[in-house]
Each structure stands twice: as structure tokens, then as C-alpha cells.
């Protein structure tokens, strides 16, 4: 009998341990299941970049589709009809990027806590409170009302789901195994969630609070000096003095004082970073007419700057059916090509950075927030209950108040030191257009007319679309829903208690800023101001680049016989215009009489610098640190205010120093004069660099001092890349800074059959266990490109195991 007890005991122990090793405990994956070399993570390690069966039967297709992966794993999909084409795009994209596709849409919808646990609760609540799902549902409605788009998005969805249903644990992307969850079915809503995520990311950071504070604290004159709407040297997207041949739409201007005083001002002390530098992110694009090129054909170039992530944001693809032949960069999760070219035209985008998100102070009747005052009325708010599932913890509920203007993002239940409470968010993104249709039409555009026709369906985010065609037309046009504003409307927080403060309408499409075939032979944009002061509509931009745009124009103005190499050089340009314009001035004021050896040396290095931000140079590090120190010291007095403000940008800082150093509005503080300020900031900068050198035990070469990181999307450290050495920097065409930078470079030569080439920091596969995961990164750092072709090689020239025929 005793033996039996022992035996039962051993049996139960075995059962328990087997269960334990195969179940998820806390944040550990089920460890035996995960380490099992036959089914677990080991199976995600791949020696071959790709190995596909020659024929694969996939339910849901109506005809056979050929997919050929070239040596860079770019799929060339050839289908006999559009439905099959987008089905195959969904299938193939999921084959390479499924985990990323799903994770991004979970992030957009505020569902990350389900996967990663309570660390993501704040993120999820913010997404819900911004109304991301509300926006995505509105976008979906637009698609469903359009039978053609509905068919395409459904086909794309079915393709993804056909791939998902072919998966078992063994074939599942490694992140699912690691985080111990499984993919759910794709839905058209996920596609719109992805585009809303992009729209949210590109419609800006919040300055309205800073503006309220600045208006309030500094007064009109000082405010205008520190934060002017037009920099003195601004060069707009649409060249100055372009005539506007239309009569602007009428609008009743509101003369009422719109400067609200906040009931609960955001105190300076609450904010961790009370004096913020505004981000200087952006993108570049340009098109050059054949008049300026050796071949006589036009060029198009585009490099969008985004947060760099692995798996990469972009997925290269070539789509071919009887109705379309297009190649370029797609966004995993959305059908079609987002930036690219077809057999007739090429297009590329930069963020137009027009403010389409305003904040209104809501005048609630009482603490219940059930009703609010609006002109002579009392309006009812709506309460939306949000359910947030949390891994390994209890489900959380949040209640979001919606007004007719939009949701209340921050309130007593959800505070943020950088935001004021009880403001309604009025965002163009909540009412998107039919963006999928816009890109569907762009993919098929034959000429300028088709291009312009497609743009009308694109509402958010507002973008500068560059265009070039084989007919040698070039153009730059803004697309997006643009509110028609009265002066200063939306610049700061507005009262939400009257109709007169609301958007009264939108700028008519025919009045949008655009330029077609200008005399100068090129068009360009880099997130600078859209137009000169003569444009009859008032608008706000949350970002106004003043260096990259002028550098691009300088180079394009000088160039006459442009070839591929000239375009590649310009796209990888590391010239520091800010340094060229300001360094001589700073060095002139620098008091060199009392410099120590290190400072002397730094001074000499700067004197002989060629203004190139190259990885092996130390001068860029010295200049950058000096720039930052100078700004910090000069704007110290802004810290003294009790409300949060942002720092004037570097262009404006230098402009003020050069022209208004004696202004009463400027307190040089303890720095009794300009020379002392400049000299002290220089000395401080050199000290900081020396300290850096001590800590890092190496010279502060730009490549080391300014390392670029590409983190993994779920912040799994070893799945990301760190400390890449790449030139460029803020305000430079090759705009890399931290983990933000050139997410892709695309070049197209509009020959009879257009030739394209591109590069992005990542690889086609999203599998960290595949050699192609980071395949393009080295080339990206070194300014090299890979081919992106509309021509598929003959079947006999295709590599073995790289081609699959999908059959119904």
C-alpha cells in the first residue's frame, strides 16, 4: 500500500511539472513548449532567406496567382484580377509580417495590455480616450459605403486570414511564442485602425497649451518675437509669389478674444520637462523636371522620417494585374502601395504638418459632466465605457466623455503634466475620408489629372504629395481636409461654449496650395511652411522646417545635368546648413583669450570644419553640444514662469541673437553680454564632451556621439539594433536622431519604363530568426539602394525555391 502512495505521488509530480513547463506563468513563456526544438522557438531560426513550395493551394482565390520573391525578398505578385491581387498581397504580407501587423493595430486600438500586461495600461487608456477606435470605425463606414473598396479590403482581409488559418504553433512568429498568445482573425477594422494610427502620429504634437501660456505670460510683442509665424528666411513649399487665381471662400471672422483662461492652469512644476524643445521631425520629397536631367526624364525622390522600428515600417512590393502595375513601399496591414511608382507616374509624401487638431475648453454644468453650456443651450454629453483587458491582472474600465466636438482626453481620472484637463479634442481624424480609395487610384494613375483626382479622397493626415510622370509633368500638391480658419483660430485653446469658435468649413479643393511644372524645373517639400503670406487662407502648422528645405532648394537650383548619382548624393546629404549660417558668427563672438587646451583644440576643429555631419568627424559633436547649451542658457528665464512653455527653435534663437540681442524682451540673465553667453556656452559644451569621453572611453566622433537605435516594436531589446553609426542629424537632409530618422529612401527615374530603387532600415521578413530581418540596415547606413523593378525576370532566370504559384 505504501508503494502505491509513492507511485501516485510520482505520477502527480510528473503531471504537475509537465503542466508547469507547458503553461504560462507570470511573464515567462511556457518554457518547455517554448524551448522544444521541434515546435518551439528553435523552429523560427532560419538559414535560408526563403524556401517556398512551387505550388500552394489557398482557399479563397478565384484564379492562380504567381508570387516571385527576388533576391531581396521583394514579392512580385502577378494576378489575373484585382480581388486575387489584394488577396495575395494580404497573404504574402502576413507571411512576412503577421506579428507586426497585428501588434500595430492592437497598439492603435488601445489593446496592448492584453498582450504585455499592466505596463501598457496608460498607453491603452490614452488611445481609447483619443477616440482611435471611433475614428477607425468612421473610416470603415466610408469604405463599406464604397462597394469597390469594400471588395478590395475584404479580399485583403481574406488573404491575411487564409495565412493565419494555415498556421500552427510551430510556424507561428516567434513573438507570439515569447509573449504566449495567438493571432486573432484580421478584420477590415484593423486596416483602418492602422491608417488612423498613422494619421494620429502625423497630425502633431500639442502646442496649443504652450501657446495659451505664452500668450498669457509674455504678452503679444514678446510672443511674436519668440514664436513668429514666419521665420525671416522662410522658403515655403509653394514658391513665394506664386499667384493665387481664385476668390477665397467667405468666412465670418470672429473678433471675440479667444484667449481662454484655464480654470486649472498647468503648473510649471508639474511637468518633468517643463521647457520643451519641439521635435524637429520630418520628411523630404522632391521632383525634378526632365529639363534639368541628363536623360531628359523626370526624377522623383522621397524619404519619410518616422520612428524607426524593427520589424520595419515599410514592406517593399510589386503588384501586377490587368488594371495595375505598381511597385513601392506598402504599409503592412493596408492594401496597395503607399509610396511608389507605376508604369506612368511616381509619387511621394511628406507631412504637411497643418494643424487639424484643436482643443476646446468645455463648460460643464456640474461635476457629473452630463451636460455642458453651448450658446443658449444645455447639451448632453455621452459617456462611453471602455473595457481594457489586462494580461495577468484584472480587467480595467474607463469612462470617456464625448461632446459634439469630440472626446475629453484628459480629466481628473486621467491626467498628464503636459496637458490641461476637461478639453474636448476636435480632430479631423475622427472623420476621415476614403484614404484607401485615394491610394487605390494613385496606384493606377496614368497622368497628372488622375493624380489630382485621387487626392480629393485623402483627408488625414494632410500631406505634401510630390508627383512626376513619364510625360515629364512634375507637381507638388497638398492633400487632406483643411479647416478654413480665422486668424489665430485654434492656435491656443478655445472656448467650447459657442458655435462661433468652431470650424465653419473647409478650404475648397480648388484653392489648395499646389504648384505644377514651375519654371525652376523642380518642386520640393520638407515640412516647411506651405505658402507665402499672400495665400488668402489662414492656417496653422505645428512644424515649420527652416533648414532641410532651403538646403534641398540650394542644391536643386545649382544642379543642371542631373543623373542617378546626383539624386542619390542629395538624398544622403549630410551638409549642416545651420552650422554654415551660424558658426562663423558664433566663432567671431567667442572670447578665445581664456580657453584651456581642450577648448583651444575644439575651437581649431570648428574653424577648419567643412560643415559635413559625417560619422568620423568630431566637429559636428562640438557644434551640436554648443547649439544645445546656448539655447539652454539663453532661454533659462523661461523656466522662471510658473506655466510650461516651449523653447524657440534654433533658427529663431540665432535670429534673435543676431538682430535683437539688446531687446528688452530678452534677458541675458547672468550673462551680461552676448560674448559672455557665447563663450560660456562654448566652454560648458567642451566640458560636457570631455565628460562624455571619460564615460564612454572613446573620442566623441559624430557616429559614436550621435548613435542611432532601431528598437523592436515590442521593445524586446535583443530583437532591435543599437548604436548604428550614421551621419546626418536634425535639420539635415539625412535626418537621423536617436531612434527617429529616415524610415525609407525611394528614388524613381521616370524613363519609358520607370526605374526605381529604395532602401529602408530593416528587411523584408519580420522574423528576427531570419538573416533578412536586418538585411538592408548596413546599406541604409552607407547610402546604398536596392532595385525596385516593374519588370519581373523571365521564369527561367528566377531563383529556385523563390517562386510560388498560389492556386484556388
Amino acid at each position: 500500500m505504501m508503494h502505491k502512495v509513492g507511485s501516485y505521488f510520482i505520477l502527480s509530480i510528473t503531471l504537475l511539472i509537465t503542466l508547469f513547463l507547458n503553461a504560462q506563468i507570470g511573464n515567462m513563456p511556457p518554457i518547455a513548449k517554448f524551448l522544444d526544438p521541434f515546435q518551439g522557438f528553435w523552429q523560427n531560426a532560419e538559414a535560408q532567406p526563403i524556401q517556398v513550395p512551387a505550388v500552394l493551394s489557398v482557399a479563397g482565390l478565384s484564379d492562380s496567382v504567381t508570387v516571385y520573391f527576388d533576391e531581396n525578398l521583394i514579392p512580385h505578385i502577378q494576378a489575373k484580377n484585382d480581388k486575387d491581387l489584394y488577396f495575395a498581397q494580404g497573404y504574402v504580407t502576413a507571411f512576412h509580417r503577421l506579428w507586426q501587423m497585428e501588434f500595430q493595430t492592437h497598439a492603435s486600438a488601445g489593446r496592448l495590455s492584453e498582450i504585455v500586461g499592466s505596463v501598457a495600461i496608460k498607453h491603452d487608456r490614452l488611445q481609447r480616450r483619443k477616440g482611435m477606435v471611433y475614428a477607425a470605425k468612421n473610416a470603415l463606414e466610408k469604405i463599406q459605403q464604397d462597394s469597390l473598396m469594400n471588395e478590395i479590403v475584404t479580399a485583403y482581409t481574406d488573404g491575411i486570414n487564409a495565412y493565419i488559418s494555415s498556421l500552427n504553433y510551430k510556424k507561428m512568429p516567434v513573438e507570439y511564442k515569447l509573449l504566449a498568445y495567438t493571432p486573432e482573425n484580421w478584420t477590415p477594422l484593423k486596416t483602418t485602425l492602422l491608417s488612423m494610427q498613422m494619421a494620429d502620429y502625423l497630425t502633431g504634437y500639442e502646442q496649443s497649451l504652450h501657446h495659451v501660456h505664452a500668450f498669457h505670460l509674455l504678452g503679444e510683442t514678446k510672443y511674436a518675437l519668440l514664436y513668429p509665424e514666419h521665420d525671416p528666411a522662410y522658403e515655403p513649399v509653394i514658391p513665394k509669389n506664386t499667384p493665387w487665381n481664385f476668390k477665397p471662400a467667405n468666412m465670418k471672422a470672429t473678433t471675440v478674444d479667444t484667449k481662454v483662461s484655464l480654470a486649472t492652469p498647468v503648473k510649471n512644476t508639474q511637468s518633468s520637462d517643463k521647457l520643451e524643445n519641439l521635435p524637429t521631425h520630418g520628411s523630404n520629397n522632391w521632383a525634378v523636371s526632365g529639363k534639368k536631367t541628363i536623360s531628359g526624364h523626370a526624377y522623383l525622390a522621397n524619404d519619410p522620417h518616422l520612428n524607426l522600428r524593427l520589424p520595419a515600417i515599410w514592406y517593399g512590393i510589386h503588384l501586377q494585374s490587368p488594371s495595375v502595375n505598381v511597385a513601392g513601399a506598402s504599409l503592412p496591414g493596408a492594401p496597395g502601395v503607399a509610396i511608389g511608382f507605376n508604369d506612368s507616374v511616381a509619387w511621394g509624401v511628406t507631412n504637411a504638418a497643418w494643424t487639424v487638431r484643436d482643443w476646446y475648453a468645455i463648460d460643464f454644468k456640474d461635476n457629473t459632466r452630463a451636460e455642458y453650456y453651448y450658446d443658449s443651450l444645455l447639451l448632453k454629453s455621452q459617456f462611453v465605457r471602455e473595457k481594457i483587458k489586462v494580461k495577468n491582472a484584472e480587467t480595467i474600465y474607463d469612462s470617456v466623455v464625448y461632446t459634439h466636438l469630440g472626446p475629453i482626453v484628459y480629466d481628473d481620472n486621467f491626467t498628464d503634466p503636459k496637458h490641461a484637463k476637461d478639453l474636448a479634442m476636435r480632430w479631423a481624424g475622427h472623420h476621415p475620408g476614403n484614404e484607401i480609395l485615394a491610394f487605390y487610384l494613385l496606384n493606377r494613375a496614368k497622368n497628372l489629372h488622375d493624380f489630382e483626382h485621387a487626392l480629393q479622397y485623402h483627408y488625414v493626415p494632410a500631406q505634401n504629395f510630390a508627383f512626376a510622370s513619364i510625360e515629364n509633368d512634375i507637381a507638388m500638391e497638398i492633400a487632406g481636409k483643411l479647416p478654413n480658419r480665422w486668424k489665430n483660430q485654434g492656435k491656443s485653446i478655445m472656448p467650447g461654449n459657442s458655435f462661433m469658435y468652431e470650424w465653419q468649413g473647409y478650404i475648397p479643393l480648388s484653392h489648395y496650395p499646389k504648384i505644377v511644372n514651375p519654371k525652376q524645373g523642380y518642386v520640393s517639400s520638407a515640412n516647411e511652411r506651405a505658402t507665402d503670406k499672400n495665400y488668402p487662407y489662414y492656417y496653422l502648422q505645428f512644424s515649420e522646417e527652416n533648414y532641410r528645405n532651403r538646403r534641398i532648394n540650394q542644391v536643386l537650383n545649382q544642379l543642371t545635368k542631373i543623373d542617378d548619382k546626383a539624386m542619390i548624393r542629395l538624398q544622403n546629404d549630410n551638409f549642416n546648413l545651420a552650422a554654415q549660417e551660424n558658426l562663423p558668427y558664433l566663432l567671431k563672438y567667442l572670447d578665445t583669450t581664456n580657453l584651456d587646451t581642450a577648448q583651444q583644440e575644439a575651437y581649431k576643429i570648428l574653424l577648419s570644419w567643412n560643415f559635413q555631419n559625417e560619422v568620423e568627424q568630431v566637429a559636428p559633436s562640438i557644434f551640436k553640444t554648443w547649439q544645445d547649451e546656448l539655447s539652454t542658457m539663453l532661454w533659462t528665464f523661461l523656466h522662471d514662469y510658473e506655466l510650461a512653455l516651449h523653447r524657440p527653435n534654433f533658427y529663431q534663437t540665432m535670429h534673435i541673437l543676431k538682430n535683437h540681442a539688446n531687446s528688452l524682451h530678452l534677458k541675458l540673465g547672468t550673462y551680461h553680454n552676448l560674448q559672455a553667453l557665447i563663450t560660456d556656452s562654448f566652454k560648458k559644451a567642451v566640458q560636457m564632451l570631455q565628460a562624455w569621453q571619460l564615460v564612454h572611453r572613446k573620442l566623441y566622433k559624430w557616429g559614436d556621439y550621435h548613435p542611432v537605435d532601431i528598437p523592436h516594436l515590442a521593445q524586446i531589446k535583443s530583437f532591435g539594433m543599437e548604436a548604428l553609426r550614421i551621419g546626418g542629424g536634425e535639420g539635415i537632409i539625412n535626418a537621423n536622431q536617436g531612434s527617429h530618422g529616415v524610415s525609407m529612401r525611394l528614388l524613381v527615374s521616370l524613363d519609358k519604363i520607370p526605374r526605381g530603387w529604395f532602401i529602408y532600415p530593416g528587411g523584408q521578413t519580420g522574423n528576427p530568426g531570419n538573416p533578412h530581418y536586418t538585411r538592408f540596415i548596413e546599406d541604409w547606413c552607407n547610402g546604398k539602394y536596392i532595385n525596385l523593378s516593374l519588370v519581373v525576370p523571365e521564369p527561367s532566370k528566377r531563383a529556385l525555391g523563390n517562386e510560388v504559384i498560389l492556386t484556388p
Binding site: 510520482i10 507547458n22 528576427p768
Partner: protein, 123 residues
């Protein structure tokens, strides 16, 4: 001899079944083989442990060599290990544990069944 026979048989059957079945199948394979081949739980444990840990380490090593440790170094870093060799060892230990416990359980199962039978005949 019995030991070697147990090891070979357990790993061979596990190898075949693991192609399409989850990792817990090795517990049953080890149990059934031990039930027929071995005579006591301690020997059964050792045989089961050796069988699965060798199988798993061989498979993991082959993958690791073939793929140049591309993924194992990253996963090792996540689990706080310094090298893929440590990860292969961990894989072996866990597999061995499943196999060993399975085999020992097989023997114990035999005992439970045998005793019951004996009692039945003794009546």
C-alpha cells in the same frame, strides 16, 4: 543493454511523434517505453532523461549550427543567458526532466497496476 535500448527507443519514437505533436508527448512516450523495457523507477528516470535531453540537445544544436545561432543568441539574451550553448543546455535539461519523469511514472504506473492485479488473484 536495457538502458541503451530504452534510450534509443524513447528518443526514436519521440523524434517521430514530435514532428507533429506538442512537447508533452515525450512524457507519454518515455512512460510507455519504460513500462515495457525497464525494471525499476530510478533506472527508468535516468534512461528517460538521457533519451529526451540528448534528442532535444542534438536537434537544437543542429538547428543552431545550421542557422549560425541567429535566433538563439537573441533568445538567450532575453532569458538572461550569455550564450546559445547555455540555451541548448537548458533545452536539454527541460526535455530531460520531461522524459525522466515520464519514464519514472511509467514504472510507477506498472507498480500500481501490478499490485492491483496481485490483490485480485490473491482473493
Amino acid at each position: 543493454m536495457r538502458f541503451i535500448f530504452q534510450v534509443i527507443l524513447t528518443s526514436l519514437i519521440s523524434y517521430i511523434l514530435q514532428q507533429f505533436m506538442p512537447s508533452w508527448i515525450v512524457v507519454f512516450v518515455a512512460a510507455i517505453v519504460a513500462l515495457f523495457v525497464q525494471s525499476n523507477p530510478a533506472a527508468a528516470f535516468l534512461g528517460g532523461f538521457a533519451a529526451i535531453s540528448l534528442l532535444w540537445m542534438c536537434k537544437a544544436t543542429i538547428i543552431d549550427v545550421y542557422t549560425n545561432s541567429i535566433l538563439s543568441v537573441k533568445v538567450a539574451a532575453i532569458l538572461g543567458m550569455k550564450s546559445s550553448i547555455m540555451l541548448i543546455l537548458l533545452t536539454g535539461i527541460l526535455g530531460g526532466l520531461l522524459g525522466g519523469l515520464g519514464a519514472a511514472s511509467g514504472q510507477h504506473l506498472l507498480r500500481i497496476i501490478k499490485k492491483d492485479r496481485g490483490d485480485f488473484y490473491r482473493k
